[in-house]
């Protein structure tokens, strides 16, 4: 430890002001100052250089804090007035459309295949129908309509047979079978009479006498003859023996009328109504699709 003297007392004074002296050194300095009044005056002058603590508040202190005030938004209830306009209703989709397309496509392919097969089979079928016609002609020779008016009822077969239609030949055979029985023949005659009477009210020109035509594979059946009246209605209550040479009566081919609804495609019989319905569905599908496109 260094003793305080006149050569080193200033260092002690400065350390005393800076509060860097320990307790022992402080006591020694104060004792030295008491012995030397000039040193005491110098101590006072040095003490005046010591800054007094003053409180200065930092004006921007609040800016220095980090996240001490968490920012939270209070939940507010705001109701949007036009909410109803935002609602959307999903359009009902028709997943069946795809299946229908497939069905239409399949049906078209089926028709095409059947038509092609029918085209080839039709060439062979012509011979068959002709054979049938020849057979029918050979088995049941047709009497002249003038001599046998009763047979006229059942013998528009000649015209039908000439068409070469399988359907018409079948119908003809059935009708021939019916007319072989005399009792049935009379009944049929009554029916024909009433039918002819009814039909006579219709203009005779409306009763078209068309012949089913065979166009290769597909048979195009035009409206068949319902009745052709060449004379006034005749009372058929008379006996079968009385001759009525001037009247030509043809039976109403009811089965042929029903057969108009069906089309023979090759070896298959297809109902026209089904075709019509199929095409209607296809049209409806196309229309729906176009409407959807327009709406979009």
């Amino acid at each position: 430890m260094q003793n305080i003297n006149l050569h080193n007392y200033q260092d002690f004074l400065l350390r005393y002001i800076d509060e860097e002296l320990n307790l022992r050194e402080t006591e020694d300095l104060l004792a030295f100052v008491a012995l030397h009044p000039a040193v005491g005056e110098e101590l006072e002058s040095l003490q005046s250089t010591k800054l007094e603590i003053e409180s200065i508040a930092c004006p921007s202190k609040a800016l220095l804090y980090k996240n001490i005030f968490p920012v939270t938004l209070e939940p507010t209830t705001i109701v949007y007035p036009n909410k109803q306009k935002l609602f959307k209703k999903e359009k009902e989709k028709a997943p069946v459309i795809l299946l229908r397309w497939w069905a239409v496509g399949a049906a078209a392919i089926f028709i095409f295949i059947v038509a092609r097969n029918g085209m080839f089979n039709g060439e062979a079928g012509n011979g068959l129908s002709k054979n049938n016609v020849a057979k029918n002609n050979s088995v049941k020779p047709v009497s002249s309509p003038v001599n046998n008016p009763i047979n006229n009822i059942s013998t528009p077969n000649d015209t039908i047979v000439n068409t070469g239609s399988i359907v018409s030949t079948n119908v003809k055979e059935d009708q021939q079978n019916i007319t072989t029985n005399p009792l049935e023949r009379s009944v049929l005659r009554d029916v024909a009479y009433h039918t002819i009477q009814n039909a006579s009210t219709v203009a005779a020109s409306e009763a078209e006498h068309t012949i089913p035509s065979y166009n290769g594979s597909i048979i195009d059946i035009k409206p068949t003859v319902i009745a052709e009246i060449t004379a006034a209605p005749i009372a058929l209550n008379e006996s079968a023996e009385t001759e009525e040479p001037n009247e030509t009566i043809e039976t109403i081919d009811t089965e042929a009328a029903s057969s108009n609804r069906s089309v023979m495609v090759g070896a298959f019989e297809i109902d026209k109504d089904k075709f019509r319905g199929l095409f209607r569905k296809a049209n409806a599908l196309f229309k729906n699709k176009e409407n959807n496109k327009n709406e979009k």
């Binding site: 800076d18 860097e20 250089t49 603590i53 921007s60």
Partner: protein, 161 residues
């Protein structure tokens, strides 16, 4: 150092650091800028600073920012005339204090900083040495020279009259 420790450092030391800076610069706005820079640096390096060392870290950063600011200001030729117009001089209430702070202005940055750190903050020579990157003996010698300079300024005939 956590966020809580940082905010606590702001609460405890912001005024002290600001006082240290504003006494050195005698310019409020510049002092605030340096203070914010010091605390921003503390926030960036908060993971590497222990809470117990926060105060000395702040004074260290502030001191070096202060030196940089002073050296930069010296390079501006118009800086002095600018000070008269724009700078807001720190207002001294008492005449004695004003004389003392005028005397303090005659010191260089290092001596002034040493005086301020010693008188205001009560740092020891070692702590001041850590802040100013000086040895303990250097701090002691520089500080004693500063005291004697202040005393000579105070007892000068101009100040006595």
């Amino acid at each position: 150092m956590t966020e809580k420790d940082y905010n606590e450092s702001v609460l405890l030391y912001a005024d002290n650091v600001y006082r240290f800076i504003v006494k050195n610069l005698r310019h409020n706005e510049d002092a605030e800028d340096i203070l914010q820079s010091a605390f921003e640096k503390l926030w960036i390096h908060k993971d590497n600073v222990e809470p117990s060392k926060a105060k000395s870290y702040l004074f260290t950063v502030a001191y070096h920012l202060l030196i940089d600011h002073t050296r930069k200001a010296k390079r501006i030729s118009l800086q002095e005339s600018f000070e008269n117009d724009t700078q807001t001089a720190y207002q001294e209430n008492k005449a004695l204090k004003k004389v003392l702070h005028d005397a303090l202005a005659t010191l260089n940055e290092t001596q002034r900083s040493l005086v301020l750190l010693k008188d205001y903050e009560g740092y020891s020579y070692e702590e001041i040495g850590e802040i100013t990157k000086l040895t303990t003996d250097q701090v002691r010698v520089y500080l004693h020279r500063a005291r004697l300079k202040l005393r000579n300024y105070l007892i000068s005939p101009q100040q006595v009259l």
